[in-house]
Symmetry: C2
């Protein structure tokens, strides 16, 4: 990750990572300190969390969610984990192992929900049954179960591990279409409202390279593979475009996302679809929805009636947007 002989910007000791956007190298200790400072800065700037909050972290077994859980616990927050079993073949089986191993190594509480066991379907089957891209059924399912688990468990805040690359890529897609409704709600904090918990993203100031390095230096094993069903989706294309821009001009990605929050988001306040829509209750599950039956229950209805579809049958069709 770094040229031999490079020195830490802070202590001049041997560096373990170079961060071109900070135009500097860091040793393990000062890299960890930098990451922690970025997370604290995000939490404070956007009033994400207080010590009184009961925090639920959505955990996938990947680097970002394990890193944010680790950081929050280390910073003194009371944070449990939530793992949703998506039934994406070997990928899901392995990801669950990583989530469980991390929780047990730290003595943390991990809630588990299984789509197949509790709702009678999995993501490959949902993709086939709804004839939509897997990322769409997956996003809807996860959002619903995250919200439900947070509310049912009495948690005051739901944390997700979205990092700077994730948020910049979503912003990039919404900007390419100038979708004002989506742009207006692309904020690192969504307040609680009408049956939705407060949701926050403490990793918005760290790149995925940095969260991966955090896990490595902190000795956290995580699932390295991307979800096989996401291959070729637009989100990954947008990340690639931004990475090219970043490699030519280090810092571009952070300024794209963070300047949006500073300069543009305030001008869009109140323009999200959510700001104006009228919500009723889903007739099946009671969740807030603009329809008679919520999007999650529509998936459950179709997918649970469908014969199980193995993941191999629907691979390479992941072309959705988040």
């Amino acid at each position: 990750m770094v040229a031999v002989g490079s020195k830490c910007r802070v202590c001049k000791g041997p560096a373990v990572i170079d961060l071109p956007r900070h135009n500097a190298h860091f040793c393990t200790e000062h890299f960890v300190e930098l990451c922690r400072r970025q997370v604290v800065k995000a939490i404070e700037r956007f009033q994400m969390l207080t010590r009184d909050d009961r925090v639920l972290v959505a955990v996938s077994g990947g680097k970002d969610s394990l890193a944010v859980w680790d950081m929050l616990v280390e910073l003194g927050y009371r944070a449990d984990g939530l793992y949703v079993g998506l039934g994406i073949g070997e990928y899901s089986a392995t990801s669950a192992d990583y989530a469980r191993a991390f929780a047990s190594s730290r003595g943390l509480h991990l809630i588990e929900v299984s789509l197949r066991d509790e709702y009678g379907y999995d993501i490959p089957t949902a993709a086939k049954a709804t004839k939509r891209v897997p990322c769409s059924a997956c996003g809807t399912s996860k959002r619903h179960l995250f919200d439900k688990a947070a509310l049912d468990g009495g948690y005051t805040v739901l944390v997700t591990g979205h990092n700077l690359d994730d948020e910049a890529a979503v912003l990039f897609g919404n900007t390419l279409r100038w979708d004002v409704g989506y742009l207006a709600r692309q904020l690192p904090v969504l307040p609680a409202r009408d049956g939705f918990p407060k949701k926050v993203k403490p990793l918005i100031r760290l790149t995925e390279r940095e969260t991966a390095a955090w896990c490595i230096v902190r000795g956290i094993d995580y699932l390295v593979e991307e979800c096989p069903m996401a291959a070729g989706n637009k989100h990954l294309e947008y990340k690639a475009s931004l990475n090219e821009i970043e490699s030519r001009s280090p810092g571009s990605k952070a300024s794209f996302y963070l300047n949006f929050l500073d300069n543009m988001a305030p001008l869009l306040a109140g323009r999200s679809a959510a700001a104006t829509e009228q919500l009723g209750e889903c007739r099946s599950c009671g969740a807030p929805t603009t329809s008679d039956l919520c999007a999650f229950c529509r998936i459950v209805e179709k997918a649970s009636a469908h014969d199980p579809v193995p993941v191999e049958l629907v691979l390479g069709r992941g072309r959705g947007r988040r």
Copy 2:
């Protein structure tokens, strides 16, 4: 430009060009018709021109400016041309030949201004003398001389040949920085105000591939080379990024720029720097400026006192932004 055997979408005759973003092929006649329709649409939608206008077209000798001049004359507008000699070695000499040849072949009036003869400098010398990127000195010089020629000549509108690729690339750069002041003024029409003429961009709905094809099918010879001093600048990088996105999703570039005009520009009205700044008169030339001496006169002062610098000495340093 097109696979053998392809047929025009309109008449089913042999096609000469494929346009992926329209998902169609066109013969010469219907390609020309499509271009004309796009230009008329831009002119009408943004109230760019009327038949009573006296139009001055800024002409570089490249495809865009010759195409727009050709189209406007063909559509019945009264349009003269303006060529500014920038003194960029062989590149400028050749570009002037193309501009003159086009004007004389159509019996059109071409005004010529020479930076070296009339103001005592050229762009390579200005870049060296001001220690800034050549594109910066060039943009400032051209904008000033375009404005001055339009006002001095009694023209009511200044036309430039900026195409969809140009505008999308500038928008892309301003969006990466979320520079709200620049975003707010990125409009295809700037109304006349305080010593500035009205300025319009009729080619915003045509790509540079389309303006090049227009010139080819209309028999217009133009300078194909890019300006040697622009090599490696950010504007060209942004074009390349957008072209990659476009190749994966045809139509992305047009929707990026045109959706901005429809969805976002109205929200930014009144937020440009120009909307709030107080303009005085330049003490040297009288042009509107926020300083004592306008940016153009500052360049003239420095560059005309400097020994002439041949273009070869400053090549490859063009890293500016428009």
